[in-house]
């Protein structure tokens, strides 16, 4: 799914190292990319793979790598280089349980790693968190577009459920890489122009300072232009659930189950995790009494919610780590507790 979306979005280079639960992607691309004149390489490691991506994107290809949590940890050095060298690339993380080797169940515990940089240095990675197959297809296109537009690595963050759930999908119109705007910084031999160099080492502290400021400006632009979120039934709601990815879908069903009983409940779903829709959530929280955060983790996005909401509304949290997938009924139980304040499911966060 993601594989076909990537090919249609003009991706012509993929390198990756096998890791469950996302092997379907490289397996698919190993056959598909050669059909469209692209390249598939099973790298000898995640480190090698991300470095192949650096090479391919520097040479002008729309390039992607993918992995799951432990492998994404190994790619962090390369992602930091991509950010420093200002090269576009798409990295897909199908999260699994952790820390360490963890398990292959659909946890969502890499929010911190994805949104806070992960690798070293003063940089940001735009993070897209689709909540279903259709959105994943569209987000794949968007990921490549944002990457190219801002010359930055972009991460697609999904959980194991998204890796395995199947739904019908309508793909956006395919993009022929030949039709993409030519990037004027790639390396393709200096015929007819001055030689180019792409690097991230900047020993002069003043130049490094300037470079950091330039990056910062870019991140501010991304925040202004690319922040995405979705709401369901938040108008006039007393309680608003904040959840992303698959958790948001389960929450939406829980809200449906509770419809007509008790106060009106809405859903706020961040689609970009970085930039987080802070302002949007903040203004929403002015008008609701309670914010209920639900995550497949012990509480990571929660911190962004706290920073957005502050004490404008009461914040409640229900986190299910480890890869257990709660049912809508369990989330409905949490929301009932939020409403009644009985504290039976989830807990109140004191700000």
């Amino acid at each position: 799914m993601l594989g076909e979306a990537a090919v249609l979005a003009g991706c012509r280079f993929y390198a990756g190292y096998p890791i469950t639960p996302q092997n379907e992607l490289p397996e698919y691309l190993s056959g598909r990319l050669p059909q469209v004149g692209g390249t598939f390489i099973q790298g000898e490691s995640e480190i090698a793979s991300i470095n192949m991506i650096i090479g391919a994107t520097a040479a002008g290809a729309r390039a992607m790598t993918s992995s799951s949590s432990p492998g994404i940890s190994l790619k962090q050095e390369g992602i930091s280089y991509l950010a420093g060298m200002e090269l576009p690339a798409v990295i897909a993380n199908t999260m699994r349980g952790g820390p360490g080797l963890g398990n292959i169940a659909p946890s969502a515990a890499d929010y911190f790693q994805a949104t806070r940089g992960g690798g070293h240095g003063d940089y940001r990675t735009p993070v897209l968190a689709p909540s279903g197959c259709q959105e994943l297809a569209e987000m794949t296109f968007l990921a490549f577009d944002i990457a190219d537009k801002y010359r930055t690595p972009v991460m697609i963050l999904g959980d194991g459920m998204m890796g395995q759930t199947m739904e019908p999908v309508v793909f956006p119109d395919p993009i022929d890489p030949k039709d993409l705007p030519r990037r004027d910084y790639i390396l393709d031999g200096c015929k007819g122009r001055e030689p180019r160099a792409i690097y991230s080492m900047i020993l002069d502290i003043n130049l490094m300072y300037q470079h950091n400021l330039k990056l910062l400006e870019k991140y501010e632009q991304i925040t202004a232009n690319e922040t995405r979120w979705d709401t369901v039934g938040t108008d006039g709601a007393e309680i608003v659930v904040v959840a992303y990815g698959t958790a948001a879908r389960i929450a939406e069903s829980a809200i449906e189950e509770l419809a007509g009983r008790g106060p009106k409940i809405g859903l706020f779903r961040p689609i970009t995790l970085w930039p987080f829709p802070t302002k949007q959530l903040r203004s929403l929280s002015e008008n609701v009494s309670k914010i209920a955060v639900f995550e497949f983790s012990a509480g990571q996005m929660l911190e962004d919610v706290i920073m957005s909401v502050g004490d404008r509304a009461e914040i409640y949290f229900y986190g299910v780590p480890g890869g257990i997938v709660p049912t809508p009924a369990e989330v409905a139980g949490f929301l009932s507790s939020v409403n009644s304040g009985d504290g039976k499911v989830g807990r109140r966060i004191e700000v």
């Binding site: 000898e44 650096i54 002008g60 390396l187 031999g189 200096c190 792409i198």
Partner: protein, 257 residues
């Protein structure tokens, strides 16, 4: 007798087009500057400058893009061959080479090195073996000789304690994707000429789509060996070659030299 002056000037030596008119930061007597020049000459002579993409390492040669006059991209430490793979597969008609030190190629980047070679990537590698970590100030390299003193081998490298020096070129030779490996040195006029011949041959392997090729260059590091440039040349010729004998290690090219 005509009035013409008897002396006629002809330019017989100059800067290769592939080298920028910049001072290098290399120490006096360092093998890197010589190796740069040889690479640049070969690229000029083969007419490759405008289609070349060079991948320098993290190490003393990290700033090579300030010296080479063609497209260059810095690689994370140890990863030049993975990165170069991405480039070459994306633009197979370009000429792609990596330029790596021994820590980069034979310690942190061992996996990337072996697998790129084994895949037979159409990439040429210039491998600078100076038996030491130059950039970080003289610590033990995987290639440091037994008995050689580095800042992390007080009393000299001990096989039992520090492990044996690694001969990565011979290891790579067993990979089927590798068509040509030769070890040369940068420690004398004859040796330098031979090194240039080998580099050019390695480049040809890529142009003729034969497979992976590497030239190892025993390269003096007077600074960290704590020697004068002259002593350093002698040490390469008398000591280093005993552990790393010069000559062809693998050649399935069928080229006649």
């Amino acid at each position: 007798m005509s009035g013409e002056p008897a002396l006629k000037y002809e330019k017989v030596f100059g800067r290769p087009e592939s080298l920028k008119d910049n001072y290098t930061h290399y120490c006096p007597g360092c093998g890197h500057s010589i190796a740069h020049r040889l690479v640049a000459e070969c690229i000029d002579e083969l007419g490759l400058r405008e289609k070349t993409i060079g991948v320098p390492p993290v190490g003393c040669a990290v700033l090579a893009y300030n010296y080479f006059n063609f497209d260059m991209i810095e690689a994370p430490h140890g990863r030049p061959l993975a990165l170069a793979t991405g480039i070459k597969r994306t633009v197979p008609d370009k000429f792609v080479f990596t330029y790596q030190g021994d820590g980069d190629l034979a310690a942190i980047g061992t996996a990337e090195t072996i697998h790129a070679a084994n895949r037979g990537e159409r990439i040429s590698t210039v491998f600078i073996n100076n038996a030491i970590y130059g950039m970080t100030g003289g610590q033990m390299a995987p290639t440091t000789l037994l008995g050689q003193e580095a800042t992390t081998t007080p009393g000299g490298r001990d096989a039992r304690y520090h492990g044996q020096p690694i001969d990565i070129s011979r290891m790579l030779a067993v990979c089927d994707g590798v068509v040509y490996i030769e070890r040369c040195s940068l420690s004398g006029v004859k040796q330098i000429r031979s090194a240039k011949r080998a580099i050019k041959k390695a480049f040809r392997c890529q142009l003729d789509d034969l497979g992976f090729a590497l030239v190892e260059l025993l390269s003096p590091c007077p600074t960290n060996w704590k020697m004068s440039p002259k002593q350093a040349w002698e040490w390469v010729n008398k000591v280093m070659v005993n552990t790393y004998p010069l000559g062809v290690i693998k050649d399935t090219t069928g080229y006649e030299d």
